[in-house]
Symmetry: C2
Subunit: 154 residues, 2 copies
């Protein structure tokens, strides 16, 4: 059972920004991409979604870059995933080759409940919660990605 | 959030066999494949896994074919998915480009809990439960796939 790559990277991006967002730091999609092992274009798409959701803000120019907002820090992981995963199904019932059982399937309802149980488990957890140490210690060792020296690049 | 295509088809295969398994019927991987919109080779792989799990049996020759076992009828959907999905992660933490946070990530533990909540919701539900009407009525309209006439093929 997996969440989408987009959701996965969105959570990791928020985690990085939550810890790396200190005075003097400058975060960009490229720096996040390196830290989370993804392409810059993919991260740029995620950043744009997170900006829409008010979880991060992006400022241009010197002293600019990506920053997590207060709302982003207090964002529930469950709520974020519900938003990003959308109202889709756990299995594909519709689509080009719809399942003939889709209309009346008891499994479909059961999967919807199971999916909700998954999100509900993550509801009480905020971005701030998940970057509390020991995770925070590890994130801080990713220093090169967001040390003040990188701000000389732009 | 999705389960694997293998798990998805395994559940659908069991549902079909649970309803289509009547005297005179002959089910094959090819017939199941048509009914669940999948390739025969993919369904054959799934059938082989379900045979290993004791959920179905496969007999060769005249009067043979695929049949769901009693154990298969009473199989918990949650238990089946736990088995098929394996002990994997909700997001990829290891792999060729391991996440630098993997060792200490609070999110990883939270995802494991959420995944367990997903399976636990499906634990009380057996294959027999999910093919009770109205689903059963729909499955029965898939008649051509497992009408007695198809047993003339082999």
């Amino acid at each position: 059972m997996t969440i989408s790559r987009l959701s996965d990277l969105a959570v990791r991006t928020l985690m990085l920004l939550a810890v790396g967002d200190r005075d003097g730091d400058r975060m960009t999609a490229a720096i996040v991409a390196t830290s989370v092992n993804a392409s810059t274009s993919h991260v740029a798409k995620i950043v744009s979604r997170l900006v829409e959701l008010g979880a991060i803000e992006s400022r241009r120019g010197r002293g600019g870059g990506l920053r997590i907002t207060e709302a982003g820090r207090h964002l529930s992981v469950g709520a974020l995933l519900r938003e990003l995963e959308g109202p889709g199904e756990t299995v594909e019932c519709e689509g080009p080759q719809p399942c003939p059982l889709a209309g009346n399937c008891r499994l479909r309802r059961a999967f919807a409940d199971a999916r909700e149980a998954f999100f509900a488990t993550l509801d009480p957890l905020t971005v701030t919660d998940i970057v509390r140490s020991p995770t925070q210690q590890v994130l801080l060792t990713l220093e090169p990605a967001f040390s003040p020296t990188t701000s000389n690049d732009g």
